[in-house]
């Protein structure tokens, strides 16, 4: 790894960054986020930045990474003066950026392509390294983050921790001398946090300058210096003070049992962890609810009576998955009880919350919530359930859509059929409970992240649920916002609301819950630590549409000849073959097309089972269309009559012909997609379209847009589903109600989806900047495309096929007609 961190050759550069009297304002000087910041960062130093939400840490990180410029002051990065009294110096910024890596909170937004190796190569390609250099850099960088084995996998479907390691590799492959990280572990579970920190420790030992924004005490451990940003100014703080600052009783993620000795906890009795979701089928769920009857530290409401939530041997599996996300889970919760649900990422906690809220149906088992059997809900029962169960999903702020906070909070009550004034009253109450009354008339999109979270939670509370489910409600929030949420939960508990809360923090669980249900069982744990990489907030496998799975191939079968063809040649040949299918309309031609297609399939190295699985959905569709066709075409002799409908020979022949034709064309498409990565396809498109550059078309950029779109397609599809579910939980479902109400529900879904798209695009554009992408730069390619002998053979074969088909068509070889 020595090559990556070669020391600077000039002696002026003892500093990686120097900021003098830097000022930064987002509102043209009305208020200053940074107000006279002086900061010297030495080469090889590891610096941690702390501060409350909204204190300007990210702004400062952006300045240090050279992605934005201040309003005033002087900035020197890696020995280059990039900003002074004369403003920003673009060329200097460009130079400095090449040596600076920037990483942000959400790793998924910084991943550019659908293959780990290609993603890591993106930066070096932009810096125009030659192919051998890129190769070396990609392999050593992946080795450094211990992701070399995954080089051919698709990062979209990896866990957050793995994704963040891929983005780090993408940065160090550019020979970065300084890395600026903005809360790189905010979205990760404990194991993934440890992995990422280990990588940073390694880089530190290699002499890389590290600037890290963090909320977590344990990340300060190896820092050379800790700085706190407060009222636009930097203060130096020592480790003990910083740890004290960051820790609070409602700390979100670091309050593990081991750490809790440091944190003042007031007389909380130890809770028994209740491993409910076990495989033991003999044990009845009723036997296990005993801890609920034990007295609480502060008994505000005595839980009693019949269970309000009851799950019996519930399993859930996404349609396209081959394992249960939740397996044989049994539990019951009494009215007024508070239960914490814990477990590692990927153990099905979020799925469990959606099952209880009736948003997804169990694959197996029985669920009863508030007296309703969730396996078979009538439309009326569904509406009833929505009024009784409130669900605060992960990052609920992503479902905000109205013009003002008040309108957004009233959305649920209005959907429940309350009058405008009653809905407004409920909204006001909910906002009061969360302490956000003063935000009522502001646009939810103008609020800080923490305020948005509170507004979104108010939108659920306004529905007056008897059961409130919260999925990691405090993740990513600072201590103040956490306190608001805890106050809310306490007052709801006092009103006898049943609380189910998913959390990673044992400390929180102790504070809130009567008992803890742990989903960590042997069965789920094994799926968690291996190659099975499940996204933190659900399962990418469940994209809803069975067409999307075709893009999921990350590891291509290396055996078939098809994978080794030049993608440009392959693209042209396949398009031509598919188009020629439309010429086929005689049995002999169909036979020829079938033989040709099956030969291609045989050479693709793909398994027949796999192909059939991809084709199955289409075959059903073709069958339906075929039947329809059969009855529609009434010429020719009648073969039989069914329920008064004639089936003629022509109709049958046409149905058979068109069904076969479609199947063959789709089969070709599947072979192409299964043997070519989306990146290769878009590169091929770009290369083929490159002559159009002369007419002013941005072909390279269009290709990048296309490949980024494909990269973000599954992410957005997933988020769209979450938003749809969240709005449905507030009573705004596209599936029910009058046409106008459905259209409104569609709008209430689309606005947050666009907000998500814009959020991703803001992060993505920063990531593109950080990886030194610019339009029109000279880029090199890690794997250049070459036309080889194989490609020529492929062209020759398809030409032969075309000739044969045309010969048949012209009728040179006489054939009996249909």
């Amino acid at each position: 790894m020595k090559w990556a961190y070669k020391p600077m050759n000039s002696n002026i550069n003892v500093y990686a960054a120097r900021l003098q009297d830097v000022r930064f304002s987002y509102d043209q000087g009305h208020s200053w986020v940074l107000d006279g910041v002086d900061l010297d960062i030495r080469q090889g130093e590891r610096l941690c930045l702390i501060g409350l939400n909204g204190s300007g840490k990210s702004t400062l990180a952006g300045l240090i990474s050279g992605l934005s410029a201040p309003d005033a002051g002087t900035v020197e990065l890696l020995g280059t003066r990039v900003f002074d009294n004369n403003g920003a110096h673009a060329d200097n910024y460009r130079t400095a950026r090449e040596g600076i890596g920037a990483l942000f909170q959400n790793p998924a937004d910084q991943i550019i392509t659908t293959k780990v190796g290609e993603d890591v190569a993106f930066g070096p390609e932009n810096l125009a390294f030659d192919a051998d250099d890129i190769d070396r850099h990609v392999y050593s960088a992946l080795d450094a983050v211990e992701m070399l084995e995954q080089i051919d996998q698709n990062p979209t479907y990896m866990s957050g921790g793995q994704q963040q390691r891929v983005t780090i590799a993408g940065t160090i492959a550019m020979s970065t001398r300084m890395i600026v990280l903005d809360e790189p572990t905010a979205m990760l579970d404990h194991q993934a946090q440890r992995d990422v920190l280990a990588v940073l420790d390694h880089l530190q030992s290699q002499g890389v300058t590290i600037v890290q924004v963090t909320h977590k005490p344990k990340e300060l451990r190896n820092a050379d210096r800790i700085l706190r940003l407060k009222s636009g100014q930097l203060q130096s703080v020592d480790l003990a003070k910083a740890v004290q600052d960051l820790s609070s009783t409602s700390d979100t993620s670091d309050a593990k049992v081991a750490d809790s000795s440091k944190i003042p906890v007031l007389g909380i009795r130890p809770l028994e962890v209740d491993p409910f979701c076990h495989i033991d089928k003999t044990k009845k769920p009723e036997e296990a609810k005993e801890p609920a009857d034990m007295p609480r530290a502060t008994p505000v409401h005595k839980a009693s009576g019949q269970p309000i939530i009851s799950l019996k041997h519930v399993s859930f599996r996404y349609p396209s998955a081959d394992f249960d996300t939740l397996h044989d889970c049994s539990m019951s919760v009494l009215p007024g009880e508070s239960v914490a649900i814990m477990g590692r990422n990927g153990t099905g906690k979020s799925t469990l919350t959606k099952l209880i809220a009736g948003l997804v149906k169990p694959t197996d088992g029985e669920i009863e919530v508030a007296g309703l059997d969730l396996r078979d809900l009538s439309r009326r029962d569904k509406i009833m359930l929505r009024t009784r169960v409130g669900l605060v999903m992960q990052q609920p702020e992503h479902q905000l859509f109205e013009q003002t906070v008040r309108q957004d909070v009233s959305y649920g009550p209005l959907n429940q059929g309350f009058t405008a004034s009653e809905a407004d009253k409920r909204a006001s109450n909910a906002m009061k409970l969360l302490g956000i009354t003063d935000l009522a008339d502001r646009s939810p999109f103008s609020l800080s992240g923490g305020q948005q979270r509170l507004a979104a939670i108010a939108g659920v509370i306004a529905c007056n649920p008897r059961i409130l489910i919260l999925d990691e409600p405090t993740a990513g929030l600072d201590a103040t916002a956490n306190e608001c949420i805890f106050n809310l939960i306490r007052s709801l508990q006092a009103q006898g609301v049943t609380i189910i809360m998913v959390t990673h923090s044992m400390n929180q669980a102790h504070h809130i819950a009567d008992r803890i249900i742990s989903l960590d069982t042997e069965q789920t744990a094994t799926e968690d630590n291996g190659q099975e990489t499940v996204q933190a907030n659900g399962d990418m496998d469940a994209n809803g549409s069975n067409h999307l799975h075709i893009f999921k191939t990350s590891e291509l079968k290396r055996t078939g000849i098809m994978t080794r063809l030049d993608p440009r040649v392959k693209l042209v040949v396949f398009l031509m073959l598919t188009l020629m299918m439309f010429l086929v309309n005689q049995p002999a031609e169909l036979l020829l097309a079938a033989v040709g297609t099956f030969l291609i399939t045989a050479f693709s190295g793909l398994k027949a089972v796999e192909l059939f699985r991809s084709l199955r959905g289409f075959l059903i569709l073709f069958f339906v269309i075929g039947i329809f066709n059969m009855f529609f075409v009434n010429t020719g002799p009648t073969l039989l009559t069914l329920w008064g409908l004639k089936v003629t020979r022509d109709g049958l022949g046409l149905a058979a012909l068109y069904t076969s034709r479609f199947s063959l064309a789709v089969l070709l498409g599947i072979v192409l997609l299964k043997t070519t990565t989306p990146t290769a396809l878009t590169d091929a498109f770009a290369s083929l379209a490159s002559p159009l550059r002369r007419f002013g078309l941005h072909t390279q950029e269009m290709a990048l847009v296309m490949s980024l779109a494909l990269r973000f397609l599954p992410t957005l599809a997933n988020e769209t589903r979450s938003i749809t579910q969240a709005q449905a939980a507030r009573g705004g479902s596209i599936e029910t109600g009058s046409p106008m109400r459905r259209l409104k529900a569609l709008a209430a879904t689309l606005i947050p989806v666009f907000a998500a798209a814009l959020r991703h695009s803001d992060n993505l554009s920063l990531a593109l900047d950080a990886r030194c992408y610019e339009e029109g730069i000279h880029r090199t390619h890690w794997h250049a495309m070459h036309v080889t002998g194989k490609d020529l053979i492929a062209v020759a074969l398809s030409a032969a096929y075309l000739t044969l088909l045309l010969t048949l068509k012209i009728g040179l070889i006489p054939m009996p007609s249909l």
Binding site: Y26, G66, S68, P70, D71, A88, H89, A90, Y93, F401, E402, Q403, F445, S446, S545, H547, I550, L575, T578, M581, F618, L621, I625, F628, N629, F632, V633, L657, F662, A665, V666, G669, L672, H698, E701, L704, V705, M706, A709, L710, F712, L713, L716, T720, L743, L746, A747, L750, I751, V753, F754, A757, L758, H760, S761, L764, L768, Y773, E774, E775
Partner: protein, 236 residues
């Protein structure tokens, strides 16, 4: 930050939230036309931070900024995701399926101008070439229909950024889309089904017309409901 149309901060006379400014519509004709002219010249720069106060100057004017690339990519991804939703509206006619991607193309056009509508409409259907049974021809028809809906509305709206302009744009493009959709269906249906011309003409009234009218009503109403809130998001 500058607004999506890249209006520089120095253009203080233009309200930041210039998308659909009803008050502007009520002012005198002369001031409106100058305002529109300025809109026209600035429509090209998308959400361009390169012109804001905190620009590093690296992505200079006139080229595609990373912001533009990213926002086009994400809009295309939303459109793609939407295009894979398929709801059959007319019983029996399984290939006449509704998907909300048209709404996204129209929003892209409203927000970033006709060229964005073209890019999102085209890119959104490219994957369908290989994943759909209708293949390249089907994708081509979808692109034409999508362009017919999004480009005229984007153009009209770029000339008259008011609620009135949005409405006119939606209505005009709906008519163009209806004609384009029926035309394309007449051309393409025989290729897929082998029906005679008369058979295809026979399904216009029972299937093609109602399907496309329902489609344009959904697209038009929803676009009208959401374009303003989304433009506010962009202008933040």
């Amino acid at each position: 930050m500058s607004d999506i149309f890249g209006t520089q901060k120095s253009d203080g006379d233009i309200p930041t939230n210039n998308l659909d400014d009803d008050t502007a519509a009520k002012t005198s004709d002369s001031s409106r036309s100058t305002s529109n002219q300025m809109m026209k010249t600035t429509t090209r720069t998308v959400r361009d931070k390169t012109q804001s106060a905190h620009s590093t100057g690296v992505g200079d004017h006139g080229r595609w900024s990373t912001q533009r690339i990213a926002v086009y990519a994400l809009f295309s991804a939303v459109a793609m995701a939407a295009s894979y939703i398929s709801i059959s509206l007319i019983p029996g006619y399984t290939w006449l399926t509704y998907d909300p991607s048209g709404i996204i193309c129209m929003i892209a056009g409203f927000a970033f101008g006709p060229s964005a509508a073209v890019i999102v409409s085209v890119l959104c259907w490219v994957p369908h070439i290989f994943t759909d049974m209708s293949g390249i021809l089907g994708a081509l028809v979808a692109v034409v229909v999508s362009l017919a809906m999004s480009v005229p509305s984007a153009y009209i709206y770029s000339r008259d950024r008011t609620r009135h302009g949005a409405l006119i744009g939606i209505v005009v493009s709906s008519i163009i889309m209806l004609a384009a959709a029926i035309g394309c269906n007449l051309l393409i249906t025989p290729v897929y089904t082998g029906w005679s011309e008369a058979q295809v003409l026979a399904i216009i009234v029972p299937a093609l017309l109602p399907f496309n009218i329902v489609k344009l009503i959904i697209n038009g109403v929803v676009t009208f409901l959401v374009y303003k809130p989304i433009s506010n998001l962009l202008n933040r």
